[in-house]
């Protein structure tokens, strides 16, 4: 599996993502600056966490219109896997690659702690090494992770099995509607999620629950 990590001004989880990808693929991913016009030929594009463009206007709004996004949209349409983590999810929502949006956390606080999640959907390139119903623990670190979409969109997401991760009951850190933590696009090749799987790939850093996500991708895309 060949991977690329997109680097925006004020991305800050790009190297975490790169380290995790290198661990699972054996090769360093391509690091692609947002001002480039093309992503190299890869199987997986990662939009990392951070505070691209200082969260100006709305989180992810500026990054969603940066030059590299044109090629990412094209490649996503062609079926290339795209994973957006945290700010990456916000960028995917702003760019229209995923429905809905991420609002300010309901209690207005930046939340930085591990949360309990339920894997809702193992039928995807991102989650096939999990079983539906698995409980996992990933860290979150965001001020704007409160997922919101209109009723019609929610009905579609639920009906089509596109809610990939949900916060466990009683552990919703941001007020997300229906405890939604991560969603897939219609073709199931784009996943956006607020929690950070790349931060739980090494026991020394507090957990390994994120490993199956990367192992899923390696298995599906190699």
């Amino acid at each position: 599996m060949k991977a690329a990590v997109i680097v925006f001004p004020a991305s800050n989880c790009d190297r975490d993502a790169a380290t995790a990808l290198e661990y699972f693929t054996g090769t360093k991913p391509a690091m692609v600056w947002h001002g480039e016009s093309d992503v190299p030929d890869v199987d997986l594009i990662v939009l990392p966490g951070g505070f691209s463009y200082g969260d100006y206007l709305r989180c992810g709004a500026m990054a969603a219109h940066s030059r590299i996004m044109r090629d990412i949209k094209k490649k996503a349409d062609e079926g290339v896997a795209v994973l957006g983590i945290c700010n990456g999810f916000q960028i995917l929502a702003e760019s229209g690659l995923l429905p809905g949006t991420l609002l300010r956390n309901a209690d207005l606080k930046f939340v930085c702690r591990p949360v309990n999640l339920v894997v809702e959907e193992s039928q995807s390139a991102f989650t096939r090494k999990y079983s539906t119903g698995d409980h996992v623990r990933f860290p979150v670190a965001h001020g704007e992770g409160n997922y919101f979409a209109d009723d019609e969109t929610l009905k579609r997401l639920e009906g089509e099995g596109r809610v990939a991760f949900r916060y466990a009951n009683g552990d919703n850190p941001n007020g997300s509607i229906r405890n939604i933590a991560g969603i897939l696009n219609e073709k199931r090749n784009v996943l956006g999620m607020m929690p950070h799987p790349e931060r739980v790939c090494d026991a020394m850093l507090g957990g390994t629950d994120g490993r199956p996500l990367f192992e899923s991708l390696v298995e599906a895309l190699t």
Binding site: E94, L103, R104, F148, D150
Partner: protein, 79 residues
């Protein structure tokens, strides 16, 4: 030509910042304050003299970038 664009949350979208401002106003003794909603104002200078064309451009700007129409609505004022 100068324009002002007002971007506010749609009705029904939770506005925790507006709520916090409302609570703070109550704490300051403004007992008559009801619902408070917060938004933003964007001032734009436009090199355009025709107001119909200016409005069309501004609407396009709002749809593409200035507002996220999933949750926000916008109003355009020309001056």
């Amino acid at each position: 030509m100068k324009a002002r664009v007002f971007v506010t949350l749609k009705n029904g979208v939770l506005d925790p910042q507006g709520k916090a401002i409302g609570n703070a106003l109550h704490n300051l003794g403004f007992a008559s304050v009801g619902d408070v909603r917060q938004g933003k104002v964007i001032e734009i200078e436009l090199g355009e003299s025709d107001s119909t064309r200016a409005k069309a451009q501004l609407k396009d700007m709002c749809e593409k970038l200035l507002a996220n129409t999933v949750i926000e609505k916008y109003e355009i004022e020309l001056r």
